[in-house]
């Protein structure tokens, strides 16, 4: 195991210990929210950071899963676990169809088409009142669990979220270093060369799309179980934009970036709103500062800062510190 994973283990362990330190469930729940947002942001980062496909409709993946699991486990009468499996399967099936439309484009076209796809599903959730509850959404979504795994308790639910987050970090960390991960960044930088040396650019992008959909679905499932309630707002354009903000602020193309971006957005949103009413303004100012000081995000920005500081150390530093776009 490389020393690179040590910081991740430490952060996850620190998050897992929040319930042991804090007596109030507020901070435990806040940590769960960070974990859920991070899983989603990690999924979007596959598209934005590694495929070079900027999506403004990412919320469609978590949204579909959340609505499916909510409907299946309330109206549909399924137990939570089969409902969850069906919801994820349904989301992946729908995502394959979406891919046929979305992956015809890149660049600005991709931004618009992903936003439109998300708006269609949002519209269905908002207007198809008899099934989705319209603006009221669906409530009373049961969490799974029982005596062995009491997921209704905040600390146990947090630990579940952290397990899924650890799995996401492991899978994506391996993926980004794998032949297909390298090839995916190849299709981002030189799609023409990639097809000239024998790669199927469309299929590589399709895999990236499905990975994003899969982790988005995982985040949506946890979101529905966490709030035990779903509403169309989770698929609004602002929800998609928020995930994109997490990825971009943290550092697109890095493994740690989405995690840091998710923590930043969720904490600002929840903590700052206690102290000031205009927390949105604070969020805006924070992003302006990030964009001005570290235009490629916090993680690459800090990487450059440490490389710069290292130059002042008397010890012989490596001659070349490559400016890394990725963590791997």
């Amino acid at each position: 195991m490389s020393p690179r994973i040590l910081p991740f283990i430490m952060v996850l362990a620190a998050m897992a210990m929040v319930p042991l330190v804090s007596t109030s469930p507020f901070y435990v729940n806040l940590t769960s929210q960070v974990a859920i947002a991070a899983i989603g942001a990690l999924g979007l980062n596959v598209l934005v950071g590694h495929a070079g496909l900027n999506s403004l409709g990412f919320a469609v993946f978590p949204g579909l899963t959340a609505y499916l699991v909510a409907w299946l486990s309330t109206v549909g009468g399924f137990d939570p676990v089969p409902a969850a499996l069906l919801a994820i399967g349904g989301t992946l099936a729908a995502s394959m169809l979406f891919a046929l439309v979305a992956l015809r484009t890149t660049g600005l076209g991709f931004v618009m088409i992903t936003m439109a796809l998300c708006q269609i599903v949002w519209g269905a959730a908002y207007r198809w009142t008899s099934v989705t509850g319209g603006d009221n959404g669906l409530s009373g979504v049961p969490r799974p669990g029982g005596a062995v795994l009491p997921l209704e308790r905040p600390e146990w639910f947090l630990w579940l979220c952290l397990c899924v987050l650890a799995l996401a970090l492991l899978q994506l960390g391996r993926f980004f270093d794998s032949p297909l991960g390298v090839a995916l960044r190849g299709t981002r930088d030189q799609p023409r060369r990639m097809s000239a040396v024998g790669y199927d650019v469309w299929r590589i992008r399709f895999v990236a799309w499905m990975l994003a959909a899969g982790w988005g679905a995982a985040a949506g499932l946890l979101y529905a179980w966490y709030h035990q309630f779903v509403s169309p707002h989770m698929m609004a354009v602002t929800a998609s934009a928020e995930v994109l903000l997490m990825v971009v602020a943290g550092g697109a193309g890095t493994l740690a970036g989405p995690l840091i971006g998710a923590a930043l957005v969720v904490l600002l949103k929840n903590l700052a709103s206690i102290w000031i009413d205009r927390w949105m303004m604070l969020l805006g100012v924070t992003f302006v500062v990030i964009v001005l000081l570290m235009p490629d995000g916090i993680v690459p920005g800090l990487g450059r800062l440490t490389a710069w500081l290292r130059r002042f150390r008397p010890a012989p530093a490596p001659a070349l510190v490559p400016r890394e776009r990725t963590d791997g």
Binding site: D177, P179, G186, D189, Q190, M194, V197, G198, V207
Partner: protein
């Protein structure tokens, strides 16, 4: 008579009303070194783009060892043994030189779909890439990111990317463009040492190198074949002078 390696028949490409390539027919035999000659805008690069599949022809057929290429995506043509270099460098700037070649090598291998084992851990692939880098004299720079290399090194990497595909037919689009005198000699040696069974089609404006290399020459002008023949025939043809110097 043996089957041509590359057989182009009646190939045309119109961009709107503008004919870029008009009714081009060429038969290039296996192992031949063929030079495409012509002033800027003669349609040489467009012809390459049609052969490798970046552009679809308006009319005509392109056969590689008898197999029709028109209608196939570029990656399938590559699988038939076609490789090309680009006039404008088309490399992966964030990767090292070695990983660029590894990526090209992997394009025709099933291992490219791996999602778990590290790309870097594939020692066999790395060894293969190093062997190719040795041929283009880049082995000592293998672990340097492309963004930190000199232009001349990138030109040679551009050729290495095509060699990685072990092509039967190799299309070289101005491999000497922008190189210094010393670098030209390196690339010239490299071209001279290509396996004799590889068919090479070259676009090049450096006449000393191009004429030393090519056995047969096709002269293109305004997207049409003006003349095709041996080195001596084309050099003696009055139309060559006319096309290049203007009548």
């Amino acid at each position: 008579m043996a089957e041509p390696a590359l057989h182009i028949a009646g190939l045309s490409k119109q961009f709107g009303g503008l004919p870029a390539v008009s009714d081009v027919s060429l038969a290039i035999m296996p192992g031949e070194r063929h030079l495409l000659l012509g002033p800027n805008g003669a349609g040489k690069t467009t012809l390459f783009n049609l052969i490798c599949g970046d552009l679809a022809p308006t009319l005509g057929s392109i056969r590689l060892f008898g197999a029709e290429l028109v209608g196939l995506p570029p990656r399938k043509r590559t699988a038939f043994g076609l490789a090309r270099t680009y006039q404008i460098l088309t490399l992966f700037p964030h990767e090292t030189i070695c990983r660029n070649v590894m990526l090209a090598l992997n394009g025709l291998k099933a291992g490219k779909w791996g999602t778990w084992r590290a790309f870097e851990a594939n020692r066999a692939l790395r060894a293969e890439a190093m062997a190719i880098l040795d041929r283009v004299r880049l082995a000592d720079l293998a672990d340097r990111p492309v963004s930190q290399t000199a232009y001349g090194d990138r030109r040679r990497l551009e050729i290495a990317m095509a060699l990685a595909l072990s092509p039967r037919v190799l299309l070289l689009d101005e491999p000497l463009a922008g190189l210094s005198r010393d670098e030209r000699v390196t690339v010239q040696d490299l071209l001279a040492n290509l396996p004799p069974d590889v068919t090479v089609v070259l676009i090049e404006h450096d006449m000393d190198v191009a004429l030393a290399f090519a056995e047969r020459i096709t002269l293109l002008h305004h997207g049409r074949v003006v003349a095709t023949g041996s080195r001596a025939e084309i050099a003696a043809d009055p139309r060559t002078r006319e096309v290049y110097l203007g009548a």
